[in-house]
């Protein structure tokens, strides 16, 4: 029957229309409503919130910080996660399975617990990270990690690292080890093999991992809120404040919608770039 697949997916479709599509549309509408300290939310159509978000330097600075942190986290994850995925891919069982569990497992452990771990490690000037760095002679005095962007970047890079490892790994699975061997047999050095054979084939994985990590870093909430404290705000913690402290819901909705639109555009743009660039390779 032609209608069978539609009937089968109807329950889920109705559910999603009712509690995903409708709330999202309501949020977009909310961002155009007016708000006042005493009158509350007024269901009119004004551009006030959007004008405020785009012109007030406070919001520009905060979006700038969110973007900066997300870029840093993405670069760190790619720089450190991609080589690890390659190393992991070359391991044999049982080591491969064990380390896979150790590296990817944290993905499923509560973000709050993982961030708490970083807060303990940073812990002011006498934190373990500072002690270790000083005893290694890498720094002379303690670095501030708590309530700084550096701390947020390190903790977020840890929280999101497994996504990068997973994405690069998925790409490396398609790599035929014989190609590497052929390159070596033809006289290529280790470095040449990495640069000319492995890296180009891992690149789609690195890029798709980067899109995931960037999107999650830019919209992360618990980690920036705990490491950044109450003053160092990013887009999502600011939206939280507008909703649950200031109670200016329309403005909070505008921030959230802007974040969503920016992420969708960036992800779509990167995907198109990847497809065009690698169409001839994986077409």
């Amino acid at each position: 029957m032609k209608s069978t697949p539609y009937l089968l997916s109807l329950p889920a479709l109705l559910l999603f229309s009712a509690i995903v599509v409708v709330p999202l549309v309501m949020t977009v509408l909310l961002s155009f409503h007016d708000w006042g300290q005493y009158k509350g939310i007024e269901p009119v159509f004004v551009l006030k919130n959007w004008r405020e978000v785009f012109t007030d330097s406070y919001y520009l600075e905060m979006f700038g910080r969110t973007f900066r942190i997300a870029v840093m986290v993405t670069v760190l994850a790619a720089l450190f996660g991609a080589p690890e995925a390659y190393i992991l891919n070359r391991m044999r069982s049982p080591w491969r399975g064990i380390f896979q569990l150790l590296i990817l497992g944290p993905l499923l452990i509560s973000v709050v617990a993982r961030t708490l771990g970083w807060a303990l490690l940073f812990g002011g000037n006498s934190g373990l990270v500072n002690k270790a760095l000083i005893s290694l002679g890498l720094i002379s005095g303690p670095l501030p990690f708590m309530f700084t962007e550096t701390g947020m970047v390190v903790a977020l890079a840890h929280v999101l690292m497994p996504y990068m490892v997973l994405a690069v790994w998925a790409a490396l699975q398609r790599l035929d080890p014989q190609v590497e061997n052929a390159a070596v047999a033809l006289g290529a050095g280790q470095f040449t093999v990495l640069r000319r054979i492995v890296l180009p084939q891992a690149m789609p994985g690195i890029l798709s991992g980067a899109v995931i990590v960037f999107a999650l870093a830019a919209s992360a909430f618990a980690t920036p809120a705990i490491i950044g404290g109450r003053r160092l705000k990013v887009a999502s913690t600011l939206a939280y404040d507008e909703f649950l402290n200031t109670l200016n819901w329309p403005l909070g909705a505008a921030i959230a919608v802007l974040l969503l639109v920016a992420l969708v555009l960036i992800a779509a743009g990167t995907n198109r770039l990847v497809e065009r660039r690698y169409a001839q390779v994986f077409g």
Binding site: V20, V111, L121, A220, A222, A239, G252, A256
Partner: protein
Amino acid sequence: MSRNGPLALCYHALFVVFMLAPIVVVCCVAFTPEGFLSFPTDRWSLRWFRAIARYPEFVSAFWRSLWLGALSSAISVAFSVPAALAIARYRFPGRQSLTALFMSPLMIPHVVLGIAFLRFFTQIGLGGTFAGLVLSHIVIVLPFALRLTLASAVGLDRAIEHAAVSLGASDWTVLKRITLPLVMPGLVSGWALAFINSFDEVTMTVFIAAPGTETLPVRMFLYIQDNIDPLVTSVSAAVIAITVLALVALDRAYGLERLLVGRGADGR
């Protein structure tokens, strides 16, 4: 395939230390005896684990999270099975968009979903209720449930069903005796993965949970925002222990790589 060199193995060791350090430190601090944060130390105690029992808000939040996870995962699996069968077996107009819609909670930032749900539930009178929590968690864990049910539905050998039909089984019997048992492993792993994700979710839930309906991660988050003490580390350590147990069980039963990469969803 050549082996990893010593340099690569050193890098690997440092990487593993980096990944595990914050988790290990939480577990260590949870066993310290002092009333303040003291680590490293050489004295150990279970004092802070016993202390959890004296904080009813953590205990009730734990049970609420457990029920919420179990219930919303079960319902999302129930929604996923027919949808997965439709997507796996039929080629119909709108199939791609339907899949994209069901997977969309993975792409939409949870902050945005939290805000959308807060607005929506307040408007329809479900603000701060457990029912609201369940509805929202069904939506955010459905992609995980769907991905694994889809993987097992794609791998299903339809000849077995045809055989049953030719032997005179009705549609209902085929579904009950053949199809459902065959997709059962995917269904159970889908439920488990959905459960873990619901149990750990904080970003979306923090928007819609009210003081009487806080989940454990939300309670922990709000507590940490005020102060960090050994109590919250022992709660975190307990949560980590539960997750690790579930993780090892899932890895044995299904394979972590398959679980996370979702291989098989596209027929490979």
